[in-house]
Symmetry: C2
Subunit: 312 residues, 2 copies
C-alpha cells in the first residue's frame, strides 16, 4: 500500500527527473497515473511490475505524460501478457493509443480498452468493492483530467456492544456486517445500525495532472474527504507569470488547493528542469509555506515511495 513516484519531471528532459508517472499500489492492484517516456525503465528500480498494471489513467495528451505507453505495452507483450488493460484519458485518447499500437513490429497480443472521459464535469469512472476512482476536469492548455482514488471502507463492528446485546458471535456478526438483522440469544431482533460504528476514514488521494490552480478542485477533494493531494507545482512562486502563461501551478497555488481540500499531506510533483542544478529556492518556499500553513508538504523525487497507512 503505497504511492511510487516513477517520474516527477516536467516537459523538458531533466537530469534528475524522469517525466511524469505515478503508481498507486493498493490491495494487490497497481494503478498507473500518466506514463512519460522512460516509465518502464524507472519501474525496474522499484517493485512496480508492468504485468500487475490493469488500469492506466492519463491526465492529458502531452508527450511528457504519455510517451512511455508504447514501450510499456510492447514490453508487456514481449513478456507474454494475455490480460486486457484499460486506459482512461480525455477525449482523443483512443486515436492516440491506436496510433501507439502501430509503432513498429511488436507482439501486443492482449486487448487494450480505451475509455475517453468527457471533461465537462466530474465522473466516477471506476468502482470496485474496495475503491472508487473519479475524474475531475482541470484547466491546462489542452483538455486535462485530474483524478481521485478513494478507498471504500466498510462499517466497523462494535464488538463490545454486540456482546452486550447477546448476539451469537460468528455467522451472525457477518450477517450484521452485510446489512442483515439477526436475533439475539434472548430473542431480540438486532439491526445492523445497533452494533455498527461509522466506517474508518479510508485512503483518498487526489492527483491534479498539469493545471492552473482550481479552487473547485480543492472543494471536490474536500467533498471526498481527501487526505493526500499530489499536485503539480512546476514553478516556485517567483515564477508566477511563467506558471500562468504555460497554464501550470506554483508551490503556493498547490498549497492553496491542498488547504481548501483539507488534506493532511501535500505532495508536489511535475517540477521544472530549471531546478536541476539547485532546489534551494524551491525548497525554501516549501519549508516556509509548510510552517505557515501547518501542512505536511513533500517534494516528490524519482523513485520515492510514499506509504499508505490503512485507515489513515
Amino acid at each position: 500500500m503505497k504511492i511510487v513516484f516513477l517520474g516527477t519531471g516536467a516537459a523538458v528532459p531533466a537530469k534528475n527527473r524522469s517525466p511524469t508517472s505515478i503508481a498507486i499500489k493498493f490491495n494487490g492492484e497497481t494503478f498507473l497515473f500518466d506514463c512519460g517516456e522512460g516509465t518502464q525503465r524507472q519501474m525496474i528500480y522499484t517493485d512496480v511490475s508492468p504485468m500487475k498494471i490493469d488500469n492506466i489513467f492519463i491526465t492529458h495528451l502531452h508527450g511528457d505524460h504519455i510517451l512511455g505507453i508504447p514501450g510499456l505495452l510492447q514490453s508487456m507483450g514481449f513478456n507474454g501478457r494475455r490480460d486486457h488493460i484499460n486506459i482512461y484519458g480525455p477525449p482523443e485518447t483512443e486515436g492516440i493509443i491506436n496510433g501507439m499500437l502501430n509503432m513498429g513490429y511488436h507482439s501486443i497480443n492482449f486487448q487494450v480498452n480505451v475509455y475517453e472521459i468527457p471533461i465537462e464535469k466530474p465522473y466516477c469512472i471506476l468502482e470496485s468493492e474496495s475503491y472508487k476512482i473519479y475524474s475531475y476536469p482541470m484547466e491546462h492548455s489542452v483538455p486535462t483530467l485530474g483524478y481521485v482514488f478513494k478507498e471504500k471502507k466498510k462499517p466497523q463492528l462494535d464488538i463490545k456492544r454486540a456482546i452486550e446485546l447477546g448476539i451469537n458471535v460468528g455467522p451472525d456478526l457477518k450477517k450484521l456486517k452485510e446489512g442483515y438483522s439477526v436475533v439475539s440469544k434472548d430473542g431480540r431482533k438486532i439491526h445492523p445500525e445497533d452494533v455498527l460504528l461509522p466506517p474508518k476514514r479510508g485512503i483518498s488521494i487526489g492527483y491534479s495532472g498539469d493545471t492552473l490552480p482550481l479552487k473547485d478542485f480543492g472543494k471536490f477533494l474536500k467533498s471526498l474527504d481527501c487526505n493526500i493531494l499530489i499536485h503539480e507545482a512546476t514553478f516556485d512562486s517567483s515564477k508566477k507569470e511563467n506558471a500562468f502563461e504555460t497554464m501550470h501551478s506554483t508551490i503556493e497555488d498547490a498549497v492553496n488547493i491542498g488547504t481548501i481540500g483539507g488534506v493532511e499531506e501535500l505532495i508536489l510533483t511535475h517540477i521544472s528542469a530549471r531546478y536541476d542544478d539547485s532546489m534551494e529556492v524551491y525548497l525554501n518556499e516549501v519549508i516556509n509555506l509548510s510552517r505557515e500553513k501547518n501542512l505536511n508538504i513533500t517534494i516528490a523525487e524519482d523513485l520515492m515511495e510514499f506509504p499508505l497507512k490503512k485507515g489513515k
Copy 2:
C-alpha cells in the same frame, strides 16, 4: 569528432543500459543511429544537442530502436526548431514516423523528411563533400539495415616535392589540390599527380543494427576500408542458441565479422539485460577473444565516448 553511446541495451529494459542509440559527431554535424526510448534524456548527460541532429538512421522498426523518436521530435519542436530533419530507415518507416507525429498535442513546426531505403542491396544513401553514408541489408526477424559512415579524404600535397619542382607556393598549390595543372617558376607544366600523395585513410565506421552475423557485411566493411565496427553482441557465446533463435549475434559472431572486415576497433553493443547484475562471463569472453584474435574490443557502456582521430 567522436562516437557517443547514448544507449547500449537490448529489447528488455535494463538497469544499467538505456535502449539503443548511437551519435556520431563529425565536423560539427551529429548523426544519430537508432533512437530507443529515453534517448533524449540520455543526451542531456552528454554534449550531444538534439538541435544539431539533422539526420537520423533507423536500423529496424523494433521499439528498442525507435521509441525515443516521438519525444526527441517533440522536444525539438518545444525548443523552437525550424530546420528540417531527415529520417532514414527500412521500408514502412514512413508510416511509423507519420504515426509518431500524431502522438498527442505538440509543436513540431519543422519538416520531417522520411526516406525508406530498399533492403535488397547496399546503397550510398547520403553524400557530402566530407563523407558518404551507406546502407547494407542485414538479417534480423524484421527488415533491418546496417550502416557505414565513411569519411572522404582529399589527396594530400607533397610540399617538399612541390618546392623542388619550383611551384609558386600559394594559389598554385590550391589549384593543384583542386585538380588543375599549373606552370612552375621555370616554365614547366606541373600536373596534380606530380605533387599529390594518395589521401590519408579516413574514418570509416560500420554499424550492424540487430542481426545474425553476416560474412558479406564483413566483406562490405573490408571493401570500404572500415576501421571501426560497432556490432551488436546481445549474448556471450554460451548463449549461441538464444542468439540464433532471436536472430541476434554473440560476441564471437561480432569478432568474426570484425576480423573479416579487417577493422582496428570492434565495439560491442546491444547487450542483453541478463548481464545487468554481472558482466563477468561476457567480459571474460571479450578478453580471451581480444587476445586470441589480436583485436581491440570495447564493450560499449551508456554515455561512453569513443574519440575519432583525424586521419586514423
